[in-house]
């Protein structure tokens, strides 16, 4: 199944991590390969996070993208086809992966002051043209992987276009990496649905950031353009109206709920992680629309700080609701319109926050003060 190296038999992980960080190029490659194999065998994703941050860090600590071509095979990462600073290629898929990961980097770096996935300049690796007829994209713990859809089917039967076609998919996959380094939300049931929702939230914000759209202008669709014209649907998920993205004789109907009363209990899909994510997705949408303006500025900031500092691997929807409410108070002040918007967001999906009194903060939250300083928020009083 995996290529084993003799090193795997006896060298402890902490020594392999040192080699991965400090060894020669060939030593690094061998150590990384061995750690990856061990990592997957043992399921210790934490170890992978720690070493890959060191192994892929760039000296300058800036944006560093590499796009690989799997040439329709399943070997990862594939052949390098575009690196940071290279001009566009003739392959639109390569260019979409490059540009999309660039805008994602920019959003996290410019708005949230986060330098890449690991907050420490980790290189952004993407592989395109993965397998034949592969109608999916995923994050494998180290990199993004994109299929071409069902390009191997006759045109009249195709359901999916290439998965780089929607920039929010690229932002979605990269955000799985951020979550892996921060809250480490377990990919199962409610914590898994929160993991998915965080990826949809920041995936959508990447698209809005690229288009410079305010909340009321955005379509809040995840995977817009992914479905072919043979399908009756506008995308894969709707954050605005979960359950309405598609309704098609072949694909069926979008199963997402937008309220806790419709929560779906299932063992499929890791306990419905792509289904119940509709609930926190809509909470974010309502919050952002309530606040108006650019959603990445206030609502996005609240969700980002919550993901980075508050959520834990086993967090559930109510935990996320409580924490975003508290973070809103920390950033903007107790009782602020931002905190009330968060409360409304969760209330509209059936979750109550604000049962306990948050101590008032003098002069409002630090972010609000900063925004006032630069004239981006109205003066208090």
């Amino acid at each position: 199944m995996h290529r084993h190296s003799p090193v795997n038999c006896f060298v402890p992980p902490h020594i392999l991590k040192n080699i991965a960080t400090k060894g020669t190029a060939s030593q690094k490659n061998l150590a990384i390969s061995t750690l990856k194999t061990s990592e997957r065998m043992r399921g210790q994703r934490q170890a992978l996070s720690e070493f890959s941050a060191a192994a892929f860090r760039v000296a300058a600590g800036g944006k560093d993208r590499v796009i690989y071509d799997a040439k329709n095979g399943s070997g990862l990462p594939g052949t390098v086809v575009r690196k940071e600073g290279d001009g566009p290629t003739a392959d639109v898929t390569v260019n979409e992966a490059y540009d999309g990961s660039g805008v994602t980097y920019d959003l996290f770096n410019d708005v949230y002051q986060r330098n890449s996935i690991d907050a420490n300049g980790m290189r952004l690796d993407s592989t395109v043209h993965y397998r034949q007829g592969y109608d999916n994209a995923f994050w494998d713990g180290e990199q993004m992987v994109y299929g071409d859809g069902d390009e191997d089917q006759p045109a009249e039967e195709r359901l999916f276009n290439r998965f780089t076609i929607a920039i929010d998919i690229i932002g979605h996959e990269l955000t799985h990496g951020v979550t892996q380094f921060e809250a480490k939300l377990q990919y199962f049931q409610q914590s898994g649905a929160l993991n998915e929702s965080m990826s949809d939230v920041f995936g959508s914000l990447v698209k809005q950031y690229q288009l410079q759209q305010i909340a009321s202008e955005a379509d809040w669709i995840i995977g817009g353009g992914l479905l072919t014209e043979n399908v009756n649907g506008v995308g894969i998920r709707s954050m605005k109206e979960p359950g309405t993205a598609y309704d098609d004789p072949v694909l069926g109907k979008d199963p997402q709920p937008g309220h806790m009363r419709d929560y779906v209990t299932t063992i499929s899909d890791n306990g419905g992680v792509h289904i119940n994510s509709g609930i926190p997705n809509r909470a974010f949408y309502v919050t952002a629309l309530e606040l108006g303006g650019f959603a990445w500025e206030k609502a996005g900031q609240i969700w980002y700080v919550t993901l980075k500092d508050k959520l834990t691997p086993s967090s559930k929807f109510q935990d996320c609701a409580n924490e975003t409410y508290q973070v809103a108070a920390q950033l903007f002040g107790a009782g602020s319109i931002e905190q009330q918007a968060v409360k409304k967001g969760w209330s509209e999906v059936g979750l109550t926050v604000g049962g306990t009194t948050t101590p008032p903060t003098e002069g409002g939250g630090c972010l609000e003060a900063l925004l006032r300083m630069i004239g981006a928020a109205p003066a208090k009083g």
């Binding site: 199944m1 990592e39 109608d135 994050w139 494998d140």
Partner: protein
């Protein structure tokens, strides 16, 4: 292998759409059945461990999870695997089963 039927389910993925098919060999064309048997034999499917997933059976975000059950006269054998952990030699089988499950969904 003296295969009687095959059950295939694909769950997860970025879109979260499940496809599945429970098929007898008789349901398939002669060519499809022949190819399927060849792929199962090449894999020594009976000898594969039930869990071919990375780590503690937890999927990587957005990868597909595949559950394949092959029933013979001797009983059933199930293998569960995912995109990031499926062995290279299993790719042709997964692709064929995906296609067969999709065809059933369409018709």
């Amino acid at each position: 292998m003296d295969v009687e039927r095959i059950k295939f389910e694909r769950t997860g993925g970025f879109a979260g759409m499940t496809i599945s098919r429970d098929m007898k060999l008789d349901d398939l064309s002669e060519e499809q059945a022949h190819t399927l048997m060849e792929l199962l034999d090449e894999l020594d499917f009976d000898e594969l461990p039930e869990h071919l997933l990375g780590g503690e059976s937890e999927s990587m975000p957005d990868e597909y999870t595949y559950t394949i059950t092959v029933a013979t006269q001797r009983g059933e054998h199930t293998v569960i695997t995912g995109d990031a952990s499926a062995p290279e030699k299993m790719q042709d089988l997964l692709r064929l089963l995906n296609r067969l499950a999709r065809l059933r969904k369409k018709h």
